[in-house]
């Protein structure tokens, strides 16, 4: 099946189509294609929706997020945890018609990277492109037996015993995840070759020399250059609890299960340094299989949650909600057709029933309304008879509900009579969009990290809610909104489905910066918490405010003929030099100008004052803010007139 790039919302979650619902979220998953790990797709979140399974990477979400459509999945399979390998769910693709895809011709760089002398320690699966390597056909069918768990693994196709050396990257055992010793794999591949035919005999000679040289290396199979690991490599590792000599790469002792710490260090390094090679040849992002075989896609769950994921996945596959998208609407039972005329009454035309149906007029309008109401009645009746049927008619019910909500905004809002507010409330209470935003607690798996996952998902929900352009929450509030107001708005938008407690809300808000989302939480001097977009800094706000102040220099406050704001009946101007100083503003005026709330406006003005851009004036009528001319250029021992006269004097006037 195809792994598709998916669209992400601003909060880096997959954007869902209108009918798609989110079923489950799990973090710490990795993605495999076939037997090999996909590069850059090893640490991320898995989102299960009714239509898709999506993977969103943690480090570079925009680049490495992919999804599988559930309609392409034939069946899922569940693998429980075994030794070192995490539990996996694999998705088997449906056989599709894409057999016409030709094999990619071997690219020029078809040398197995295993033997390339790259200084970076690239370990991992060999190249996916099965292009012919310059070496003779290697043992395609050879298998090597893992010394730990005796699982028979295939030797990688491009593994060439002739040129394999200590730097060859080796795949780990599929069952237990431990890398085999190089010697082992060479032997297995040789036996595979030997089984295939004698034509490769001369090769074995050279390969045996390679073997000979290979053997001299210690049976270390971690060809890491320049890395010094303190514990003995070749010898076995002694368990601290039971003194059993374990294999060096095991994580836990085989006998007593005590954790082996140093091996764990190495395993961590192993994990981080095991990216897949980019396959040569032009493939999209190197993620898709370009061969003709469709590989099984696997999700590896490193932090649990696989059982619930599997259950929900099975449920989603059963329900096949994606079919609903193209399903025609349910045919309504037709009304008893009264239009068949009674043969007795029609001929006269006394009261031609069907004929009247076509005429215009108030009667037909009334009839239309009546039919509409009957229709609604039927729909609602059918829907509520059976809850299952409700789910299928859910689309229509939601549309009905929306239309009612829009018609009667006062019903949904509580107190406002302001028309713009009523409209805002109507928008907010649209349940369809609200449902899509909700990540409820039962969608998340169990585990020690579920609380954190809930908070981080909530945080993403919030970011999406804030940056949603159709709602324009931030825009309506002038770019900044206090946390309390936002909490009220958000809970109202959820429509009472699952309200968020203030503490959870605050914790989610504090995660924004850590997750790199485009909104940030800001703490003012007085302790007020406010939310604004990440691109608004204090400097920008100060500059905007000062630019507004500059306007005051251009026109007299209050105009010429009006009593100025001081209450003086001065004909022309206020007692101070408004050309020089402009005028003072109250927090109220600032709030009106920028669309903020008054509390936020006060805080912003005080912030500007802290930076020295503004100064305040305490009058009988309250506090006003001015541009800071106390430290400005108009103050000093050299007022303008002085300077002018001096200049004139110097020129000899």
């Amino acid at each position: 099946m195809f792994l598709r790039q998916i669209d992400l919302t601003t909060a880096l979650r997959p954007s869902l189509s209108p009918e798609e619902t989110l079923l489950f979220v799990q973090d710490a998953v990795g993605l495999y294609e076939g037997k090999f790990k996909l590069p850059n797709c090893q640490y991320g979140h898995a989102y299960l929706t009714s239509h898709r399974v999506c993977y969103v990477d943690n480090t570079e979400p925009r680049k490495y997020s992919v999804g599988i459509d559930l309609k392409d999945v034939d069946r899922p399979e569940f693998f429980a945890r075994f030794l070192k390998s995490s539990p996996k769910i694999s998705f088997h693709p449906k056989a599709n018609k894409r057999q016409s895809l030709s094999l990619r011709p071997p690219g020029p760089a078809a040398v197995p990277s295993g033997s390339s002398v790259s200084s970076s320690p690239i370990q991992g699966s060999p190249l996916r492109s099965y292009a012919a390597s310059p070496a003779p056909p290697t043992a395609r069918n050879a298998t090597w037996i893992c010394p730990i768990c005796s699982f028979s693994n295939p030797v990688p196709e491009n593994f060439d015993p002739a040129i394999a050396n200590a730097h060859t990257p080796l795949p780990s055992c599929l069952a237990c995840g431990i890398k085999p010793p190089l010697v082992h794999v060479i032997k297995a591949s040789l036996s595979g070759i030997a089984n295939r035919g004698p034509s490769l005999e001369p090769k074995t000679q050279s390969s045996s020399t390679a073997l000979g040289s290979g053997v001299n290396h210690s049976d270390t199979f971690i060809p890491r250059l320049g890395e010094v690991s303190p514990e003995p490599r070749g010898s076995a590792f002694q368990c601290p609890r039971c003194t059993f000599q374990n294999h060096p790469s095991l994580l836990a002792c085989e006998i007593c299960g005590a954790p082996l710490i140093t091996a764990a260090d190495r395993r961590l390094d192993l994990d981080t340094a095991r990216p897949r090679d980019d396959s040569p040849g032009p493939s999209l992002n190197g993620l898709h299989s370009t061969g003709d075989t469709l590989e099984v896609i696997k999700l590896s769950f490193r932090a649990g949650g696989e059982k619930i994921f599997y259950e929900r996945l099975k449920g989603a596959l059963l329900q096949r909600k994606w079919l609903l998208q193209s399903a025609p609407p349910i045919p309504k039972p037709t009304l008893a057709d009264a239009s068949t005329p009674n043969p007795s009454a029609s001929s006269d035309g006394v009261s031609p029933g069907p004929a009247q149906r076509q005429t215009l007029g108030i009667a037909s309008l009334e009839r239309r309304g009546l039919e509409q109401r009957k229709n609604n009645e039927l729909v609602i009746g059918n829907a509520f008879e059976d809850l299952e049927a409700l789910m299928t008619s859910a689309k229509e019910i939601i549309a009905l509900a929306e239309s009612f909500a829009n018609q009667n905004p006062s019903l949904s809002s509580s107190s406002t009579t302001n028309p713009s507010d009523a409209e805002a409330n109507a928008l907010l209470s649209q349940s369809a969009s609200a449902l899509g935003l909700v990540t409820t607690k039962d969608m998340l798996g169990s585990g020690s990290a579920s609380e954190n996952l809930y908070i981080s998902e909530l945080s993403r929900n919030l970011a999406e809610f804030l940056t949603d352009d159709t709602k324009g929450v931030l825009k309506r509030e002038g770019g900044i909104i206090s946390l309390v107001d936002l909490w009220a708005l958000f809970n109202r938008a959820r429509g009472g489905v699952e309200l968020v407690s203030p503490r959870d809300f605050e914790r989610a808000a504090q995660l924004w910066e850590k997750l790199g989302l485009p909104v940030r939480l800001r703490r003012f001097k007085s302790g007020l918490l406010a939310v604004q977009g990440s691109d608004r800094t204090d400097e920008k706000t100060t500059a905007t405010v000062l630019a507004w102040f500059k306007e005051f220099h251009l026109e007299p406050p209050g105009g010429y003929a009006v009593i100025d704001d001081e209450g003086f009946e001065i004909k022309s101007r206020v007692p101070w030099d408004w050309r020089l100083y402009g005028r003072g503003v109250t927090a109220q005026e600032t709030a009106e100008r920028f669309g903020w709330s008054v509390g936020v406006a006060t805080e912003e003005l005080e912030m500007c004052e802290e930076r020295g851009a503004l100064c305040r004036e305490q009058g009988i009528d309250g506090v006003k803010w001015w541009e800071n001319w106390l430290v400005g250029p108009s103050v000093g021992d050299e007022p303008e007139l002085d300077r002018i006269v001096r200049n004139l004097a110097s020129t000899g006037v």
Partner: protein, 217 residues
């Protein structure tokens, strides 16, 4: 032309608002006459008509600048009106602290704040609270410090050849000979302070209780 006299007198800075009146107001203040100039002729600086000037600023750096401006203004004003002593409770109605056109005034509490700043080393030590058990009811405004006064007095005594003569303090302050001098009309207490400086240096001696007199050596 008025230009060179403007340059020499730092206190006669004309304000931009009352431009025409300022130039004519300059001439009487360039020479130090004995008559105290009235407050109405004092040329206030432009920031005196800036409303926030009358509100003590919370921002510390702005506040420091504001206090410095007030210090300079008070000193200039006192020099102009030849005020040596200032009681905040009386002074709050002066045109200095109360701008009638602007309808803004500096609050009593803030006046004391400014004077305390002036009395501190940061403010230059240009004021001193009259010691009355810390009640801060009155303070000396040193638009000239006692040391400077002492120097002036000594200079005058030398110029008029009165070394060795005995002068009463009253004579110094109110006498005809001193009419044109800067210290005319000074408080006797302040004069005593200035003379103490000289006494410490050994250049003069004060004696007499009822009619204190001074002799310059």
């Amino acid at each position: 032309s008025p230009a060179p006299s403007m340059a020499t007198a730092p206190t006669t800075a004309p304000s931009s608002s009352s431009s025409t009146a300022a130039i004519s107001a300059q001439t009487p203040t360039t020479t130090f006459t004995a008559t105290s100039s009235s407050p109405s002729t004092f040329p206030f600086p432009p920031h005196h008509t800036f409303p926030p000037f009358f509100t003590l600023q919370p921002n510390s750096s702005t506040r420091r600048t504001q206090l410095q401006l007030w210090t300079a203004l008070i000193l200039a004003y006192c020099r102009h009106t030849r005020t040596f002593r200032l009681a905040p409770i009386d002074a709050q109605d002066w045109p200095l602290f109360h701008n009638a056109t602007l309808r803004r005034r500096l609050a009593l509490r803030d006046i004391r704040e400014v004077l305390s700043f002036m009395a501190s080393t940061e403010g230059g030590g240009r004021a001193e609270w009259v010691s009355d058990a810390g009640k801060k009811a009155e303070c000396w405004v040193y638009w000239r410090r006692p040391e400077e006064w002492a120097g002036l007095l000594e200079g005058w005594v030398d110029a008029t050849g009165q070394r060795g003569a005995v002068l009463t303090l009253y004579e110094l302050v109110e006498g005809d000979a001193c009419r044109g001098q800067e210290w005319a009309g000074m408080d006797v207490e302040l004069l005593q302070k200035c003379l103490q400086v000289l006494v410490k240096k050994g250049k003069a001696g004060i004696f007499g209780e009822e009619q204190p007199g001074v002799k310059f050596f």
